[in-house]
Subunit: 410 residues, 2 copies
């Protein structure tokens, strides 16, 4: 089967997968207070204007601006204090010519006033008189009706992932509930006759399942809901049945392949039976991660990820993560990177992208990236480091001393 | 009270708060599968070694290395295939001189073999014979016992925040449960007679509560558990009672102050009654956020954050966030920044740090930062942008066209 597919670059492979993959249709209404990180399924127009009344933006005195024109240190304006605005209430006093009313930040402007003289530009002469030392223009230090938000204005667009300030902002206009995309349900199928669940003491020749749980955590970080479906024997019928159930119940399906060639081939065959168009990519110009399988089966993305822990991690990052965001109509958050100086040479082969796990060390104020070498099957290579260095397609290797960009693990 | 305190830089203010603030004493045991993002309360030593048996790292043939010495394309080594290693099982065959046993990646090495010839360097002659074209050294393509992890080796240190690969790694050695710091409980007290809950239609002069919910979401993002305690009237006794309950039940206490001067002063007085050492910082060389109050009362951090939405956000980021990580013995994740060209001049005053909300726009492949101007009391200034530009203490302003670093909202 592999022979039918040319080896694509990671960017080409992802592009082929995303092309024509629709967003999830299912949306749900959730209370805004529980919607942090959820992705809007529709534009949100403001149900109201803000503020709904003219508010003072400073502590001071509400005034008719023209009463302050020409005021200066040498020739202050003398103004009569005729009252005070209570917070949260409609002012009981009106401002007439020559009068002011005390108002705090956020207080409603009293009728007759069109500006606020800030307290720092005044001096109290007696309990009912102040001097104002500076002129104010009409509207100065006042937030006008609708200045913050206009009724019907689009507050946030479809595809927007809600941030803390958005939660506050939506509640501030009285939007208590929002329509968001359902979190993508991601079914994870681990394979391999040598793999046992973590709670089982492995016998000789057996190892505990790592990938299911790393993938599940990566799915959560990408806004999805992991649905681990256990470890399936390397048996065509058992795998096919698990796959069919997975594609029926999930929005996406991940095979964490057993590491042997035969298991990988079986995975590709089974994915081929799950629906059209089927396998789109089989093999990527990538190390680790070359034998990655990318498919779309009946509008649902299906991934065959290579079994070793570093491959799993790198291919999830390059292919699964962007697809999970795509399913909810948005782009993944920007990758966090850091510049560091490489401590050793790294060999590569031109024509493929290499991802090298590195430790980040700070030494005399300088950030160093030290490759975590080790056989690709070691589990702790990723645990021992802080990020990945990418060697681009057209580069044959990197030299010690070179400054590189490290994609930080999050 | 304010007069007693000199105005500190943000870094000095944070330093004064952190100094002597202990980490939380309470820890809890949680299943590793639910511990993503939690912070370890103790070093984790490995309960086992990995692997526990020598494993092949490639698909190929287990062999006595010396039987391949001198093999080449022109003079291959002829070797007898005496069996196959079944995945997950102890090999039933022993490798004698001149023999090989088929083994897949991850398969247990059979007795007698000390290396693996990869399948790509062999050719099948007949069902029981292969040719090997390359020599292998003893140990080649084999993962030795303990090569990944040694028993007792420190896998992860106290203060480490668990990442997806750590979850997999811990389960891989059979660590099913970890001791983590309790999530800090953060009590949030909103004040202001003008503030009503979001579900209430505000009357004239009233506004809906924004800050409680923005702060609650920021607390979640920083690994804490928000405990909103509602909107308290601007009344000394009511506030003091709420504060005392808050400090008794929370690990940290945040006042989101009403915007008037009198409320702010009341907040400072009440914090002064909550425990020793009390208010440490009152006023920071910062805009927005100058009237920030930072305190420690009986080993618990207490914050008086200014009431306008941008101030709340900036002061949370600068002071509350690092403290919440400090409470669990770790440092906050690195700030995500992006370089952008400023579209307009921004004025500032030397001697204070300014934080300016900006929109990020991409234009002809270049990232632009456009200041979101507007009165400080506007709610949607933060919603409309993607990050903050910092004007350092010793800089009087920034010029249009200048490249600046933008702290991205997350």
């Amino acid at each position: 089967m592999a022979e039918l597919f040319q080896v694509l670059t990671p960017a080409e492979a992802l592009g082929r997968l995303l092309q024509g993959l629709p967003t999830l249709k299912e949306t749900e209404d959730v209370p805004v207070q529980e919607a942090l990180g959820r992705v809007l399924a529709a534009d949100i127009p403001s149900p109201t204007q803000l503020p709904t009344f003219p508010r003072s933006n400073m502590d001071g005195y509400a005034v008719r601006a023209r009463d302050t024109f020409g005021a200066s240190d040498g020739l202050p304006a003398y103004l009569k204090v005729s009252g005070e605005v209570a917070m949260g209430q409609v002012p009981q006093v009106k401002v007439h010519s020559g009068e002011v009313v005390r108002v705090a930040t956020g207080g409603m402007m009293p009728e007759g006033a069109d500006a606020v003289v800030i307290v720092e530009h005044t001096q109290v002469v007696d309990p009912t008189t102040i001097e104002a030392y500076r002129p104010v223009a009409p509207g100065e230090n006042v937030v006008q009706v609708g200045e913050d938000v206009k009724q019907g204005e689009r507050l946030l667009p479809r595809g927007h992932s809600l941030r803390p300030q958005d939660i506050g902002g939506l509640l501030g206009v009285g939007s208590l509930s929002v329509s968001v995309f359902r979190r993508p349900r991601v079914v994870i199928i681990a394979t391999g006759d040598e793999v046992v669940p973590p709670e089982v003491e492995p016998g000789p020749g057996q190892i505990r399942d790592i990938n299911t749980y790393t993938i599940a955590a990566l799915v959560i970080r990408a806004g999805g809901v992991p649905q681990p479906s256990g470890i399936i024997r390397d048996d065509y019928e058992a795998l096919r049945e698990a796959a069919e159930q997975g594609i029926a119940h999930g929005d996406a399906l991940i095979f964490s392949a057993g590491s042997s060639v035969s298991t990988r081939d079986m995975t590709a065959q089974i994915i081929g039976t799950l629906g059209k168009p089927g396998v789109l990519v089989h093999g990527v110009a990538l190390k680790p991660g070359k034998p990655t399988i990318l498919a779309v089966c009946g509008d649902k993305p299906v991934f065959g990820l290579p079994g070793n822990p570093v491959s799993t991690f790198v291919t999830f990052d390059l292919f699964v993560r962007p697809v999970l965001y795509h399913l909810v109509g948005t782009a993944p958050p920007e990758q966090v990177t850091v510049q560091a100086r490489l401590t050793r040479n790294i060999a590569s082969t031109s024509g493929r992208e290499d991802y090298i796990p590195v430790r980040l060390l700070e030494e005399e104020g300088e950030m160093l990236a030290e490759p975590v070498f080790g056989k690709s099957n070691l589990i702790y290579i990723l645990v021992k480091g802080q990020g990945l260095v990418v060697i681009p397609l057209d580069v044959g290797g990197l030299s010690a001393g070179q400054t590189v960009e490290v994609r930080r693990y999050s």
